[in-house]
Amino acid sequence: MREVAIVAFAQTDHRRSTDDLSEVEMVMPVLHGVLAQTGLKASDIDFTCSGSSDYLAGRAFSFTMTLDGVGAWPPISESHVEMDGAWALYEAWVKLLTGEADTALVYSYGKSSPGVVRDVLTRQLDPYYVAPLWPDSVALAALQAQALIDAGDTGEPALAEIAARSRGAAADNPHAQLRGARPQGGYVVQPLRTGDCPPVGDGAAAVVLAAGDRARELCGRPAWIRGMDHRIEAHSLGVRDLTDSPSARLAAERAGAFERPVDTAELHAPFSSQEVVLRKALDLGDDVRVNPSGGALAANPVMAAGLIRLGEAAARIHRGESDRALAHATSGPCLQQNLVAVLEGEAQ
């Protein structure tokens, strides 16, 4: 398999509201940021892929406007997934594996502030039997959290520790929306408290991928993608064991995550309880540094939060703070769909 690496990563400062910015204005700094890190111009990039959601933007073909920010002239080889940007990165990775491209620009963005994201996400449920009932994302996560508590896998104090650890770690992350000690607060939907839930916010992220020697030219210590896989489960919550994530486990296995231990894991767990599920499914011991960025509990820009996990893991490898990291992204209610990538830096 061709060697492909993440060679640059940039993200916005994630904020509760970005009324002062259009999506193009929000995305452009991160595009310029990753290109500046590599010295590449838009016209040097062989393939571009983005992830976003029309339902967040409130209009059809919303990604066409942000494409204008890329500077797609002369015309570029380009594609888009209506998914978290982590899957845009996956599509770009496959494109590089074919040998048709040596470099790729991947970006994603989401603005939750113009709407009510809890309501918006209900529209991704089964449209005939479930969506008409408007069960929101926090309520569904609470079902999962209660199932975990009932199974003896966790308890409210343990969830509070996850929340506190995440936001504590985010104190060192200038881009995070919620940083430092925060009260766990009252119940939003029992057993989940304010602290167990992600902040609602707007943000964008971008990475540059490169293959082989091109990656070595562009980055002092590339974060090599040793494997990447994603898997989906049944949609209906009634046919799934919500205390487990077989799709995350299978994706990790296929990505090679279990071949050797990782030192770092960036998990896309918007709710504290989901970290419990993922730690078990991914077999992460206490010696693994989980979410040193603060994770999705510190900043969860929908459609970008998964790509940010890949970017954060890669950036730690770039900086020499990790040698082998696992990065994870999720989509759908209660961890329905999961992507796992294994990133490695060469010996220092």
Partner: protein, 412 residues
């Protein structure tokens, strides 16, 4: 495995883009071994969205004589989620498409999405990430209203002027002026495509009593586009099974081989944009022809499935795709070259003008091209078709995806 010495000259950022200069010596050949589509109609009240997509997928699997367990991954595409009112419907569709426990991806590149989706699936095989992939695209327009789904007002941005026809009509008029085309050409295309659709049992419009006079007498909607020169709103889905060389060897039916595939995008609105013949379309076609070793598309390609939602786009795309010199496309149409029995049949299936489940329309073009080179297009088969082009475009003519398929495996 790293690629050795195969790259073209670096930084040659000509209009085709740097990727156009690359070769890919290690790519796995990709074969289409299963094709399925639904019967397309205005409203499929008898099935849910899940029922609709499953119908097309089952037909593709049956065609390939494979089962759900033979599929390694699913790549699904459709046009905007607002067309059905379901956000990221692939999540809900995972069960219906046998994707549980497998990778599933959702592509969205506006009207070109059906083609782009097939190309993303094709790359999974070409890169040897997966061996056999199910790809599917759909639209169930009856669940909502596409025209208004496209017309949601956004502050400080140009509205789409009540649907796609209002956006494209001025560009058709620009073409007519530029090419000096007589105003009768559009109706010839519509008349041809609707007659071709009569030979295609899956086509939405079966206008048995169609005449040229009826097309010409139909009401003017967006001058110069008449009612009978526009596409219908359809419910429908299209699916294909793509596989590697070993999978093709086991195929019970002749495979169609992918000889080239490409996507190109350009900005929506900018001063230098040529809406009549966008550069991205030209570059995309040039890249596909380069990959497929086509130097004279007019002679070497036997059938074209072209994305023609408004009749005048046939002569416009004939020029954009290199089948005719600038200003000459309408002459090919007028002289009958693009008829089913002409020497460059365009849209033997009846095309988008006869069937338009928007998100699936591009994949239907790709699939119909593959049917032609497999010799399995039934009554609308082009005799002896060995190379066929599938073409899709989207947005304000800024997204393009195309593939060229052949009856023989690619050489080299």
């Amino acid at each position: 495995m790293s690629r050795q010495g195969a790259a073209g000259p670096r930084g040659a950022a000509g209009p085709q883009g740097a990727a156009g200069s690359r070769s890919a010596a290690h790519k796995e050949p990709v074969a289409v071994v299963g094709i399925g589509q639904t019967h397309h109609v205005a409203a499929r009240h008898d099935v849910s969205i899940a029922g609709l997509v499953r119908e097309a997928a089952r037909r593709a699997l049956d065609d390939a004589q494979l089962t759900w367990s033979d599929i390694d991954a699913v790549v699904i595409g459709k046009a905007p989620d607002f067309f059905e009112g379901v956000m990221m419907p692939e999540l809900y569709l995972a069960d219906a498409l046998g994707a549980v426990g497998k990778p599933m991806m959702r592509v969205h590149t506006a009207g070109s999405v059906g083609g782009s989706t097939a190309l993303v699936a094709s790359n999974l095989v070409a890169a040897r990430v997966h061996r056999t992939v199910l790809t599917l695209a759909f639209e169930k327009q009856s669940e909502s209203n596409a025209m208004w789904g496209l017309s949601l007002p956004v502050p400080f941005q140009q509205p789409l002027l009540a649907g796609a026809g209002g956006f494209f009509a001025p560009h058709v008029r620009a073409y007519m002026r530029r090419a000096g085309a007589p105003d009768t050409v559009g109706s010839l295309v519509a008349y041809k495509d609707r007659r071709n659709a009569l030979k295609n049992p899956y086509a939405h419009l079966h206008e048995k009593d169609i005449t040229l006079e009826k097309v010409q007498a139909s009401p003017m909607l967006w001058d110069p586009i008449r009612y009978s020169e526009t596409c219908p709103s359809s419910d429908g889905a299209c699916a294909m099974v793509l596989t590697d060389r070993a999978g093709a060897a086991r195929s019970p039916q002749p495979p169609a081989w992918v000889h080239g595939g490409a996507m190109r995008s350009e900005p929506t609105l900018f001063a230098g944009k040529d809406f009549v013949s966008p550069q991205a379309g030209k570059d995309c076609a040039a890249d596909v022809y380069r990959q497929a070793g086509i130097t004279d598309p007019r002679r070497e390609i036997d059938a074209v499935e072209m994305y023609v939602p408004f009749s005048w786009y046939e002569p416009m795309w004939l020029e954009n795709l290199g089948f005719a010199a600038e200003g000459e496309g309408w002459k090919l149409t007028e002289s009958g070259v693009t008829e089913l029995d002409g020497d460059l049949p365009v849209n033997p299936s009846g095309g988008v003008l006869s069937t338009n489940p928007i998100g699936a329309s591009g994949m239907i073009r790709f699939a119909e091209a593959a049917l032609q080179v497999r010799g399995q297009a039934g009554e609308h088969q082009v005799d002896g078709a060995r190379k066929a082009l599938g073409h899709a475009y989207g947005g304000g003519s800024q997204f393009f995806s195309m593939w060229l398929v052949g009856s023989e495996p690619p050489t080299g």
